[in-house]
Amino acid sequence: MAYKIQPGVIGCAIRPAIAAQDRSLEEIIYDTTQQALDDAGLTIEDIDGIIVGSNDQLDGRAISVMMASGPVGGVDRDILSTPSGSEHAFILGALRVATGQFQTQLVVSWSPTEASSIGEAERLGADPYFHRALPLDELSAHALQATALEQRVPGVREVAASVLAKNRRHGALAYPDPPLHPKPGPARWPLAAGTTTSPVTGCVAMVLATADFIAERGLVDVAWIRGMGWATEPSFLGDRDLSTAPALAAAAQQAYKEAGITDPMMQLDVAEVTDATPYAELLAYEALGLCGREDWAARVGDGTFALGGRLPVNLSGGVQTFNPVFCTGLIRVAEIANQVRGHAGAHQHRNTRNGLAQAGSGFAMQYQAAIVFGREREKRA
């Protein structure tokens, strides 16, 4: 553990799919923030600083954090924003707590669906000369990644179908009575219709604190951060091998080193990965050191990553169940924090002591992050 102070997660509010007809985005953000504070047993007066993860293109605003500063309680507070990724908001919040200069941090991210075309909003994120005209949106990038994998790994399409079925099965157990039923995503070869999930409005908030604060308040359900890693690939798709995830491998290496994880399959109890497509989940298995591609078919086939298996992945149902595009990464982090805290609800995994969250975002998962949580606080000399 590299950090001066070990941060812990003490509150989460995950709203992965919101039927938003009767609430404005500001009200959704306010509701979610209050829910996370309630979960932590705090009020906004206890919060020293706030990190927001939001995206201008999806929000339809320039500097979208501005609108949110009221709903998240930012007035007269120290607030920063990471538009690169929702998971980056968590990382920066954790770093701030780890300095010891802040006792608490609130981290909030959301993803609305009001844009007339989310694909067009995403296309603005492609460089204007080479990629934008393809046209490139996230679904196209996912499809290119699936193509690359199909070229390299014979039979991967069948394995991907099994991963998809697993996550949808998990999702039906986790959310037996969902607030809304997401629609299957459109086809984009080689991704068949329904291989992805259409976007929904979502919001997520988390509260972090120092050990001193946690002890002072007598809080017991804590997910301690044991290690964090994050990294990026270059943006030009031609500079990348989309059938690999080197940035995730780098991020996992950072996180495992900090957490002292040498055998993730044996030392972790549960994981959430950003399964924007089942191909992305398979790539994550490999880059996270859970299972090389030569063993994908066997391990998926024997249920290693399913409920009841050695390392259940995406007990929440993952992105294949709910896809609030921009905040899916932070939701993975919050899901694992809740698993470790014993607060995961219908999909709580028994005896979870250590969990891993992987967040990927950008075109074909350009940005990657891996975060290891533990039930026990680190013992220091």
Binding site: A2, Y3, K4, I5, G49, N55, D56, Q57, G60, R61, A62, I63, V65, M66, M67, S69, G70, G74, V75, D76, R77, D78, I79, L80, S81, T82, P83, S84, G85, H88, I91, L92, A94, L95, R96, A98, T99, Q101, A121, L124, G125, A126, D127, P128, G229, W230, A231, T232, E233, P234, S235, F236, P246, A247, A250, Q254, G362, F363, Q366, Y367
Partner: protein, 392 residues
């Protein structure tokens, strides 16, 4: 002795101009990064993380344009994230880099960015989109008329005149003339300012910042790394952010939450940074300041908020020459935001310039004997405020 401090070990900035037809957006980022890396005398392998400084995407015309900058900052397969707090983004990015190191996660962090504000088409059309689409966007609000309203409030509260505003421009242009990286370096007179075209009364053309193109980059490192490598550094000893309400209406009327004449949250942010740095009397303990002021009138409430005087007293003190280069407490010796504004890095340049000042490396615009300096950045609709104390 403690090894807990965070130091600045490398600085790079473009010579800012109205256009850079010779350089793409990533080229400008790279230009600043190369300068900062050379200044720090480090290799890219030494850089453990990068904080990317970019304010509204729409200014560049590319959503999440930081993705295009990954190679320019050498971040492939490294820790990378982007900060956006509007005009404050640059100082917020330095703060985020600081937290990477102060947390113990990293020893060496690069922060960098660039902007091409003058090449974006119309920055005020972009900036209009920061406001609420239902209530305020149609007025139409822009950052100029927003701060014009602040000038009117300051005139009402403290007796500011248009001539007082012009005096800020005259001072800052004189100082920018000494700074080879400043964009507007032509010396002007009070009469020139008063005769210039009215933009949003009382703000005139020469009361306004330019739209600049250029990049900025800084390398920060842990005290342990700096000592091990025997590097030269200056130190970030205090930092903070504070925010105001999004809604301009909450800063006006009979019972404002914080008066739009003042910079309430900037003051709060400075108080927090001073507390961290152990500064109790800023007027006596601070030697030089780079205060984010894109329009002449806003330099007054920034000086007030920095705690150099009571609100409104800055008008008389500036007339006395206290804030001139060579005066008691030089403000914006680089020429400041009023003479150079590449929004994504403007507030980073405030920090960089103060670092150069306390380092004694500011060249012709060096404030003599400066050892303690402060920097600030303002973002959003005068909403997000970052502050920093830098010491030799």
């Amino acid at each position: 002795m403690s090894n807990d401090r965070v130091g600045i070990i490398g600085i790079g900035q473009s010579a800012f101009q109205a256009r850079r037809d010779d350089a793409s957006y990533p080229d400008l980022v790279r230009e600043a990064v190369v300068l900062a890396m050379n200044d720090a005398a480090l290799e890219f392998d030494d850089i453990e993380a990068v904080v990317y400084s970019l304010s509204p995407d729409a200014m560049v015309g590319i959503g999440n344009a930081e993705r295009l900058g990954v190679d320019a900052v050498g971040a492939r397969n490294k820790r990378f994230l982007r900060i956006n707090t509007g005009g404050a983004t640059g100082i917020s990015s330095v703060a985020a880099a600081y937290y990477h190191i102060a947390s113990g996660a990293c020893d060496v962090v690069l922060t960098a960015g660039a902007d091409k504000v003058g090449e974006c088409g119309d920055s005020q059309t972009v900036l209009n989109k920061i406001w609420d689409p239902t209530y305020e966007r149609q007025l139409p609000l822009g950052t100029i008329n927003m701060l014009g309203m602040s000038a009117i409030r300051y005139m009402h509260a403290y007796g500011l005149t248009e001539e007082d505003m012009a005096l800020v421009t005259v001072k800052n242009r004189r100082q920018a003339a000494l700074n080879p990286n400043a964009h507007l370096r032509r010396i002007v007179t009070v009469d020139d300012v008063l005769a210039s075209r009215c933009i949003a009364w009382p703000i005139k053309l020469l009361d306004s910042c330019p739209q600049s193109s250029g990049g900025g980059a800084m390398v920060l490192a842990s005290e342990r790394f700096i000592k091990e490598r025997k590097l030269e550094a200056v130190w970030i000893t205090g930092l903070a952010h504070c925010s105001e309400s999004y809604w301009l209406g909450d800063r006006m009327g009979k019972n404002p939450a914080a008066d739009h004449a003042d910079a309430f949250a900037l003051g709060r942010s400075f108080q927090r940074a001073y507390k961290m740095a152990g500064i109790t009397n800023p007027y006596e303990q601070v030697h030089v300041a780079e205060l984010y002021a894109p329009f002449s009138n806003t330099e007054y409430h920034a000086i007030d908020a920095a705690g150099f005087c009571k609100p409104g007293e800055s008008i008389g003190m500036l007339r006395e020459g206290q804030f001139e280069l060579g005066g008691k407490l030089p403000v914006n010796p680089s020429g400041g935001t009023l003479c150079t504004n590449a929004i994504a890095v403007t507030a980073m340049i405030r920090v960089a310039e103060i670092a150069l000042q306390v380092w004694g490396r500011a060249g012709a615009h060096q404030a003599k004997g400066a050892r303690v300096g402060i920097a600030s950045g303002n973002g959003g609709d005068h909403q997000f405020f970052g502050t920093m104390v830098i010491e030799a």
